[in-house]
């Protein structure tokens, strides 16, 4: 008989209790992993940002526009290789619940500056030739069953009216976390209608994307761009694409903070679940531990038994929880694919789950170990089960 066998047998002494503890651990570990994955997915846009792209927006707020005429001036700044622009369209497709991002872009070079959107050349040519042409992401097309040639009508909210489009291309993402849910239209179509119906809003874009020649010069170039439009009617704020993405995430920082807090609370719950089981176990075995010491077993033997049992349950719960995370995480990823492209537990999430389980195993055994070591043999022997 080996010590490991004794640990194993001890762990299953109360089968129902062990089962419930391990199940509780597994579910909590899975929930912890899901929340960590959710937070990672939330930041995936920022992680996908290119280091050699800057974003210039209105210094007051992203909801204020910039003149389209800035493009030529920005292009003249040293270090800027190319500039494109885009505007948030915000239309409704059939029902407001059918949300997906819609951008009006500079059709001439938008896809050149964003090579992570992979579009067949012939579709790109068609997009450039037809004013009402749109390019949609693969996931978006799959979601609504769209195919090339389908007419689509959006009801404008920021830009009022019914807007007719024809799908001329479907892009796919180069990277796992590239958004495949965008609806990309031509800005000149939008601008043409604005010139006709609301001339005051014509020639206004949402933001510029700048391709720079050296990512190390991004701060310097951003300063130059903003300096160029200082004291103008529309002052600019230029930042790296990652900072730009993070500024959006900042808007929901309270949610992220809440999720982080919940994830740590879950760790606390796991710890309490296992600590409770281990405390009960240690209390029930006071006389047994005392008796083992009369046989000559020493403190470290008891530490090994208690710690081993705690680790055993924690690791078992952690492994089951991690396996559940793999299954449930991918199912959630499929369900949320429109909102969180690339939502899937990564290696870090799995390692965090296992690491957390190990820490919980260690933490839960501290008080039972203290108690087992502190009690005198004679006092322990007086305790009758």
């Amino acid at each position: 008989m080996k010590v490991f066998r004794l640990i194993y047998k001890n762990a299953f002494r109360h089968k129902l209790r062990t089962f419930l503890t391990v199940l509780g651990l597994a579910l909590a570990v899975m929930a912890f992993g899901l929340i960590r994955t959710f937070i990672t997915a939330w930041y995936s846009g920022a992680e996908a940002a290119a280091p050699d792209r800057l974003v210039t927006r209105n210094a007051v707020s992203i909801i204020f526009t910039l003149p389209i005429s800035y493009k030529e001036q920005i292009l003249k700044i040293d270090g800027v290789k190319d500039v494109t622009y885009a505007a948030w369209f915000g239309g409704i497709y059939v029902d407001p619940k059918n949300f997906f991002p819609q951008y009006a872009v500079d059709q001439s070079n938008f896809f050149t500056l964003f090579p992570e959107f992979i579009l067949p050349p012939e579709q790109f040519e068609e997009f450039k030739e037809e004013r009402k042409a749109v390019i949609v992401g693969r996931r978006l097309a799959d979601r609504f069953g769209w195919k090339i040639g389908d007419p689509i009508t959006l009801i404008g909210t920021i830009y009022p009216g019914d807007w007719d489009f024809v799908i001329r291309g479907v892009y796919t993402g180069r990277d796992v976390n590239t958004d495949e849910t965008a609806f990309i239209m031509r800005f000149d179509y939008l601008d043409e209608v604005m010139r006709r119906d609301s001339p005051g809003r014509a020639g206004q874009i949402g933001w510029y994307a700048l391709k720079i020649d050296d990512p190390n010069r991004s701060a310097e170039i951003a300063k130059q761009v903003d300096a160029r439009f200082k004291n103008s009617l529309a002052e600019t704020l230029t930042e790296t694409e990652k900072e730009f993405q993070l500024s959006f995430i900042q808007m929901s920082s309270a949610i992220i903070l809440g999720l982080r807090i919940v994830s740590f609370l879950i760790i606390g719950v796991i710890l309490l679940v296992l600590a409770n089981t281990m405390a009960m176990t240690a209390r029930e075995r006071i006389s047994e531990h005392a008796f083992m010491r009369t046989l000559g077993f020493r403190g470290y033997h008891l530490v090994g038994l208690i710690l081993g049992e705690s680790f055993f349950m924690a690791i078992l719960g952690g492994l089951i929880g991690t396996a559940l995370l793999a299954v449930v995480g991918n199912l959630v990823g499929i369900a949320l694919s429109q909102f969180f492209p690339g939502f899937a537990p990564d290696t870090v999430a799995y390692l965090l789950c296992i690491g957390t389980a190990l820490l919980v195993g260690l933490g839960a055994s501290i008080f039972p170990i203290q108690r087992a070591l502190r009690i005198k043999i004679v006092d322990g022997l007086r305790v009758v089960d």
Binding site: M1, L6, K9, S287, E288, R293, L295, F297, I377, V378
Partner: protein, 224 residues
């Protein structure tokens, strides 16, 4: 001449409850020769179990000398005491103290896990001990599958498996029916007579004490 198994002189033991000193054993002087079978009798609270605990090295005297198996027990460190107990003391409890998750074989093997014996050697020792107590055919049984008498016999096998010089039994028949108690007492007598084990048994039961070669009485912490 054989060295005495136990030599006690001027032994005192007291406990403190808050600041109140409660004497438990007073001026105990006792010598038990090797190979003796001694019954310690006395009313509840007379200090029998405390004396047994001191002999087992699981409690410390307040003052006095306590020499067991040639070793001054009160001078040993916690670590040395653990080793000493494993080597010299076999303990039998009233409620058997078997681990319920281990078979009879595994329970008996438990003390041997602290030795350097190989698995094969451990097997030989365990089988011998279980044969002596008449449970060779119950090796794979768990405590819940055994009667009270059989459980106590497993506990006795565990107490003798490491071949200790001194066996301490604390009310070994206290939880058994008459027949099982008889069997256990007979077994202890055999261990004393055939295997030369020194046995000190605490008991309330005069019939159990009659099986011992010597009976000592404790009253209010003093040997009478």
């Amino acid at each position: 001449m054989l060295e005495p198994a136990v030599q006690i002189s001027s032994l005192y033991k007291s406990y403190y409850r808050d600041s109140l000193e409660i004497p438990v054993l007073r001026n105990i002087n006792l010598e038990i020769p090797a190979g003796a079978f001694v019954a310690l009798m006395g009313p509840s609270g007379s200090g029998k179990s405390t004396l047994l605990n001191l002999l087992a090295g699981i409690d410390q005297p307040t003052s006095g000398s306590l020499k067991v198996a040639g070793e001054e027990v009160s001078r040993l460190s916690e670590r040395d005491l653990a080793k000493w107990r494993a080597r010299h003391i076999g303990f039998i409890f009233q409620f058997y103290n078997l681990l319920p998750v281990l078979t009879a074989y595994e329970n008996v093997e438990l003390p041997l896990l602290l030795t350097h014996l190989s698995k094969k050697e451990r097997k030989e020792h365990v089988e011998t001990a279980l044969s002596i107590v008449g449970l060779a055919d119950r090796m794979k049984h768990y405590p819940r599958q055994l009667s009270g008498g059989q459980e106590q016999r497993v506990a006795i096998a565990r107490a003798i498996v490491s071949d200790p010089s001194l066996i301490l039994a604390d009310e070994p028949t206290g939880d058994l029916d008459k027949q099982s108690a008889e069997d256990i007492l007979h077994l202890l007598s055999r261990l004393n007579e055939e295997y030369g084990k020194t046995i000190i048994m605490v008991t309330h039961d005069p019939r159990a004490a009659d099986k011992a070669k010597t009976i000592r009485h404790l009253d209010k912490g003093e040997l009478t």
